[in-house]
Symmetry: C2
Subunit: 381 residues, 2 copies
C-alpha cells in the first residue's frame, strides 16, 4: 500500500526528553499542519458562530466536519456541486471528517448494527438510512475531506468484556473493508485513519491497536474515550494505548477534552485532538482563560472593564470588556456567541501552540507546571 | 443659542434639479457623515449579529442606539464606567440615540403620561421607572451620543384630530424642556434634534414643524410615520412636512423603511434614516438584492451555487453561495444570521451611496428609474 499516491506525510521534528510529547508536521493537499494540534468542530459546514475568517484568526490549522450531519443536511448532492466541503463552506485549509460512527449511536434513532453496516433513522426528519463501511469512505471522499475516518462501532459505557470484544472485532472487519474501498476506489489522495476501540479494557485496546496496525493506515485514532468513564480511567487507557500505535504515524484522540486533558494527552504522545467543548461552552458563557474558567453570566463581571484574559491576544480580548461580554450574554445578543467562541477557540489553539514551542525547546514539564499554577487563579461556578 | 459650543455642522453640498433630493455633510465629534445616510439600529449596544468591524465593512457611517433598552440593560452606571456607549461597544464612529419615546409606548407596560413625563414598567423585569424630558437628555448625554433626540409622545394609529393635537402640544412643551436642559446642563458638544409629530393630520404636522422651528434645534426628525398607516398616506405626510423643516438643518425620518421608501423619501429631501428592517429581515431569511427580495429558505436556492446578488460586493456575496446560505439558515446556524445581516446592511448602505452619487451628478431620476426596473427582477414570497 505504501506509496500508492498517498499525499499525507507525517514527520516528527521533535520529542520531549521529559515525557512522551512529540512535535510533528503533517502535510495534506490543503496545507501543512503543525502538531500537536487542536481541530475545532465544524459540524454542519460551520464552526458554530464563526466565519472562516474568524476560525483562521483564532489560529486553527484544520477543522473537523461531521459526516452524519452533512450527509443528512445539506446532503452530498449539494456539496458535490461545489466539488467538496472546502468550497461549499469557503474554507481552504485541511478538513478531517469523522465517519458518522459516533453519531449513529449517540444521535440517530432506531440504530441497528449488522455485519453489513448501520441502519438508522434521521434525528431531523425520521427518514431511514443505511451506512456501510464502504459508504462511509465514499461519502467522506465526496466531501473531499483531507483525512477520512474508518466506520467504527461506538460502544455504550459501561460494557461487558464480551460485548466490547465482539464490537471491537466488528470494528476491525469494518476497518479492513474501509481500507479496501479507499485503496481501490479513491486514488488515496486523501488519507484514511483507523480507529482503535476496545471499551475500557486494556487488553482489547492492545488487540485493536495491533490488528489495525497490520492494516498500515496513514494515521490512527483512539475512539470511545471520554464517554462517561472516570477521568483517571480515560488517562490510564490513553497512556496504555498510545505506545501501541505506530510511532511514525499521527495519533489522534477523538472527542477529548478540557485544556488539562490536552496537556496530559500531549504529554503521553498524542498529536491530534478535537472537541466541541470550547465552542459549546462558549455558547453557554463558560470561558477558558490562562487563569482559570470564567462564567461570564456571573454578577461579578457586570462592572468589570478588564478583558477576559489580560494575556490573551484574541479579537475578543483585544477589543471588549467583561462588562460588555456579560451584557451581550445576558441579553442573548447573537454577538455574544461569536465573541465567546472566538475567545475559547483561540485559547485552545494558543495552548497547542504553546505546547509545540515547549516541546521544541524541550521544557514541557516546566510548561506543564506553569500551566497548572496559573489555571488555579480564577475558576468560577 | 447659535454658536454655544455646538459641534454639529451641516453643510449642503449638492441638490438635485429634478426633485428635492439633497446631498450633505454632517460633522460630529466622532466623525463626518455623508448624507443622505442610513443608520443601522444597534438597540442594545450591538447591531444584532454584527461586530463593529462588520458594521464598518458594510459601509455604515453612524449607528443608532436605543435609550430605553440601554437604560434598562446594562444600565447607565455600567456604560458610565466606559465614558459612554462608544467605548463600551468599541464603536468609534458617530452614534445617534433615540429618546425612548417610541419604546415607552410600544414595548414598556403600564405606561402613563403626565405633563411631567412618562412612567412605565420595564418589559424585562417589571420594575417601575419614570422618564422626564430632562432625564431623556441627561441619559443620552451620559451615553455620549453624538445626536440626542427630544422626548416625544408617540401617538397610537389611528388617532382623532383632538388627541393628535393634544399630544402634539405636549411634545412641543417637552421639546422646549429638553432644549433648556441641553443648553444649560450639557455644554452642547453633542447635538439635540427636535421631533415633529402630529399624527396623520397635515395641519398638525405643519404646526409642529413651525413650533419646533422657533426652538432652533441643530436638526429635525419626523416621528410617528410607518406606524400602520397606508404607504400613500405616509409618503403624502412626509412630502407635506419636509419642506416645513429648516432647509439648512439635517432632516431625519425615523423608523422608515423599505429600500423603496428610502428612495422616495430621499427624493423628497430627507437626509437621515434608520430602520430595523434590514437587520430583522435578515434574521428571518428575507434578503434585499438589486434584483428584488429573496427568501433564502425557499427550496429553489438549495442547489444554487450563485451569490445572493451578483452585483454586490459584500463579504457574504463575495464568499458564499445561496446554497450555503440556505443550508445555514435551514439548520439555524448562528453564522446564517451574521452573513444575512451583513448582506442586508451592506445593501442599504450601498443604496444610500448610490443615491449620494446620483445627486452629486444630478441624475437622480435616471437612478430612480433604473432602481425600480432592476428591483422587479426577482421578488419571492
Amino acid at each position: 500500500m505504501k506509496g500508492q499516491g498517498i499525499i499525507l506525510k507525517f514527520e516528527l521534528i521533535g520529542k520531549s526528553t521529559e515525557c512522551r510529547a512529540r512535535r510533528g508536521v503533517l502535510e495534506t493537499l490543503h496545507g501543512v499542519i503543525q502538531t500537536p494540534v487542536f481541530m475545532p468542530v465544524g459540524t454542519l459546514g460551520t464552526v458554530k458562530a464563526l466565519s472562516v475568517e474568524d476560525i483562521k484568526t483564532c489560529g486553527a490549522q484544520i477543522i473537523l466536519g461531521n459526516t452524519y450531519h452533512l450527509y443528512l443536511r445539506p446532503g452530498c448532492e449539494v456539496i458535490d456541486l461545489f466539488g467538496g466541503l472546502h468550497r461549499f463552506m469557503n474554507w481552504d485549509r485541511p478538513i478531517l471528517t469523522d465517519s458518522g460512527g459516533f453519531q449513529f449511536f449517540s444521535l440517530a434513532q432506531l440504530t441497528k448494527t449488522t455485519e453489513e453496516g448501520v441502519s438508522f433513522q434521521s434525528h431531523i426528519d425520521g427518514s431511514r438510512h443505511m451506512f456501510t463501511p464502504e459508504m462511509a469512505v465514499t461519502v467522506q471522499e465526496s466531501l473531499d475531506s483531507d483525512i477520512l475516518m474508518c466506520l467504527d462501532e461506538c460502544l455504550a459505557y459501561p460494557s461487558t468484556f464480551e460485548a466490547a470484544e465482539k464490537s471491537l472485532a466488528l470494528t476491525t472487519r469494518w476497518a479492513a473493508r474501509c481500507r479496501t474501498e479507499w485503496l481501490e476506489k479513491t486514488g488515496c489522495k486523501n488519507a484514511l485513519f483507523g480507529i482503535v476501540q476496545g471499551g475500557m479494557y486494556k487488553e482489547l485496546r492492545t488487540r485493536s491497536a495491533e490488528e489495525l496496525g497490520t492494516l498500515d493506515f496513514p494515521g490512527y485514532a483512539i475512539g470511545g474515550l471520554s464517554v462517561g468513564e472516570p477521568k483517571d480511567l480515560m488517562y490510564d487507557l490513553a497512556d496504555h494505548t498510545l505506545p501501541y500505535l505506530p510511532a511514525d504515524k499521527p495519533r489522534y484522540i477523538m472527542g477529548v477534552g478540557t485544556p488539562e486533558d490536552l496537556v496530559e494527552l500531549t504529554a503521553m504522545g498524542a498529536d491530534m485532538f478535537d472537541c466541541v467543548m470550547p465552542s459549546r461552552n462558549a455558547r453557554n458563557g463558560k470561558l477558558f482563560t490562562t487563569f482559570g474558567d470564567i462564567n461570564i453570566a456571573n454578577a461579578c463581571h457586570r462592572t468589570d472593564t478588564r478583558p477576559l484574559d489580560e494575556t490573551c491576544t484574541c479579537e475578543t480580548c483585544r477589543n471588549y470588556s467583561r462588562a460588555y461580554l456579560r451584557h451581550l450574554y445576558k441579553a442573548s445578543e447573537l454577538l455574544a456567541y461569536r465573541l465567546n467562541t472566538i475567545h475559547n477557540i483561540h485559547y485552545y489553539c494558543t495552548l497547542m501552540e504553546t505546547m509545540r514551542k515547549a516541546i521544541e525547546e524541550d521544557r514541557f514539564e516546566t510548561f506543564r507546571r506553569e500551566f497548572y499554577d496559573k489555571r488555579q487563579g480564577e475558576t468560577e461556578p
